[in-house]
């Protein structure tokens, strides 16, 4: 048990290396890696993960409970050779990321619900222009400005469906400061490979809690490097619509003529505003993520075989759930755990499989019931789905989850 800090941390980087077919990973630039054991909060670990992954550009606007991540990045930027800009607001922040990414930089911002709302418009632009970036949303209670200093998981659907139009993103849910580090490295790798914004959907509790975080030596951290086109001018294409990742970016200033627009475009990037072209573009945007869901999704499972009830959870709530699960097992209830490390794309296939084998799935989350809708949709009536919702501002009382598990087997 002792070595199992976050459930995945020891394996995360090792596994990462095999997940980006066709792209050669490299070891991290030691300049950005603050190797060794630390006692740090999740926000700081996100900043360290970004620097380790090679992020050298941060634009953001401070907002509780994400500010510590910005502070850490700002403090470390000069020694690492990174650039930190405090922008006038969140709209400008994400716009700056799009520019930085096409200028050749790995980039990130951090925010929470109110700021994320403001970023949504340009998040859509980033999806459409296939611009890699990492956004950490350290969730606090909402709606609106809600509960600035208190925890929540209420932006789960917003992260996926915030921007207008069809698009797909990837989102990861760390359950500890250690995983904040590990998953931020992974977020950059996924973002670079699939050329898509990747969102770290964490929460105030994880963002502000201090725990031991072990940052590995640089040569043990695998990163997907920025892939810039370097071929002949006439063959230069900033896009390739084949529903796959691994395509090069074109860096502004390298001498290639190319066009980037939010309008529906061809592979050269120029507007082609027809239904036929939109079918090509939208299919690619959706399928490069959904079609590779098996490659992208990571789950942490425990005793699902033979279970009568499975608790499906994510982020901080999964830790509270484990406490309830342990107590339920003491009462003789066969209960398994599915922790979603990757929240988007959603683990549809696994929920379908589980739903045909168990009596019930219990879904605790710090919102009025969001991811439970995905679970219900995929369970398709094959088992009971019990929502254990919470309006935000605190974590669940483990007893409430335990009660739901007890009811599930009745």
């Amino acid at each position: 048990m002792k070595t199992k800090l976050s459930g995945v941390s020891e394996q995360a980087n090792v596994r990462s290396s095999g997940r980006y077919a066709g792209t050669k990973t490299v070891t991290a630039d030691p300049k950005g890696v603050d190797s060794g054991p630390h006692f740090m909060d999740g926000d700081h670990a996100i900043a360290e993960g970004a620097l380790a992954a090679g992020c050298r550009f941060f634009a953001g606007y401070p907002i509780t409970p994400s500010t510590e991540a910005a502070e850490r990045f700002a403090e470390r930027a000069p020694e690492v050779g990174a650039l930190f800009i405090q922008m006038e607001d969140e709209l400008a922040s994400i716009a700056a990321l799009i520019g930085a990414a096409w200028g050749g930089q790995k980039c990130m911002t951090v925010t929470c619900g109110p700021g994320f709302s403001l970023m949504t418009e340009n998040l859509g632009l980033a999806c459409m222009t296939e611009t890699p970036m990492v956004i950490a949303n350290v969730q606090r209670g909402g709606p609106s400005t809600g509960l600035p200093t208190l925890t929540a998981q209420q932006d789960m659907m917003q992260a996926r469906y915030g921007p207008h139009g069809d698009n797909a993103i990837i989102a990861l849910c760390p359950d500890s400061p250690q995983e904040c580090f590990d998953l931020t490295v992974e977020a950059f790798n996924l973002s670079e490979f699939y050329r898509v914004p990747v969102i770290i959907l964490t929460d105030e509790t994880v963002g502000h809690m201090h725990e031991k975080v072990v940052i590995p030596p640089a040569d043990q951290i695998q990163v997907v490097p920025r892939n810039n086109y370097s071929g002949p001018k006439e063959d230069c294409r900033p896009y390739k619509f084949d529903s796959q990742g691994g395509h090069p970016m074109v860096r502004a200033g390298d001498g290639y003529n190319f066009h980037i627009t939010g309008l529906t475009h061809n592979e050269k990037g120029y507007p082609v505003m027809t239904a036929d072209q939109n079918k090509i573009v939208v299919t690619h945007l959706m399928e490069k993520i959904n079609g590779n869901a098996d490659m992208i999704i990571r789950l942490d499972e425990d005793q699902i075989d033979g279970a009568e009830v499975v608790v499906v959870s994510y982020g901080i709530t999964s830790r509270i759930a484990v406490k309830a699960i342990q107590d339920a097992r003491k009462e003789g209830i066969k209960v398994g755990s599915l922790r979603m490390i990757t929240i988007w794309p959603f683990c549809e296939k696994r929920i379908r499989e589980i739903s045909s084998k168990v009596k019930a799935i219990v879904v605790p989350e710090i919102n009025y019931g969001q991811m439970v809708l995905e679970v219900e949709r995929n369970a398709g009536g094959r088992c009971k789905v019990i929502s254990v919702n919470h309006c935000g501002g605190a974590v669940h009382d483990p007893e409430v989850i335990l009660d739901a598990i007890r009811k599930a087997i009745q």
Binding site: T205, H208, H210, E211, V322, V395
Partner: protein
């Protein structure tokens, strides 16, 4: 030890959160324990009663907040008033002797009093109050080792004040050791 829950409390500016950070780092990095630290982030962190919590365990901490503290360190009257009622029978109550006026004898608690501010002032600055309190805390509870605490200090106190902070820690620690060996009222009952 299975799980221990500790609350450090006082007023904003006393270095309360630093206390929890130092102790958490000492436990997690040098005493081979799992430690999860959470802190108050509201207006209370900036002036009035301020608190930081630490959950310590031999196994991974699942629930990050404290449910019933076994140890309360209260460096201000307000913090003492607000939190002492949470302690269970046999819980350890550490108070700043000159700043906290007790509301009773607390026969059910293991009451320990330390003039941390006075000791800090004797060392030259009341800013060291938290380190005196931490030394005392280390001596009278068996939560963390003094070696680990001292190892945890670099990076969490300014480098040029490291020596004097260690001195403050030692002062509190020695006072705690003396108090335990005397075993008179005002310490372990």
């Amino acid at each position: 030890m299975s799980t221990q829950e500790i609350r450090f409390s006082g007023f904003g500016g006393q270095g309360i959160i630093r206390c929890a950070l130092i102790t958490g780092k000492a436990l997690a990095l040098y005493d081979d324990k799992f430690a999860t630290m959470t802190q108050a982030f509201g207006p209370e962190a900036r002036g009035s009663a301020c608190a930081a919590q630490l959950v310590v365990s031999d196994e991974r901490v699942l629930y990050p907040y404290i449910t019933q503290p076994g140890v309360l360190v209260a460096l201000s009257q307000e913090a003492y008033d607000k939190y002492y009622g949470e302690l269970p029978k046999g819980g350890i109550l550490i108070v700043e002797e000159d700043l906290v006026k007790l509301r009773g004898e607390h026969p059910d608690l293991r009451l320990m009093r330390v003039p941390a501010t006075r000791f800090a002032e004797e060392l030259g600055n009341r800013l060291f109050t938290n380190l005196v309190a931490l030394g005392f805390f280390t001596a009278v509870t068996n939560v963390v080792t003094a070696e680990a605490m001292k190892k945890a200090l670099p990076g969490l106190v300014p480098e040029r004040f490291l020596k004097i902070n260690v001195k403050a820690f030692d002062k509190g620690y020695e006072y705690g050791v003396q108090m335990i060996s005397k075993n008179t009222r005002g310490d372990v009952s």
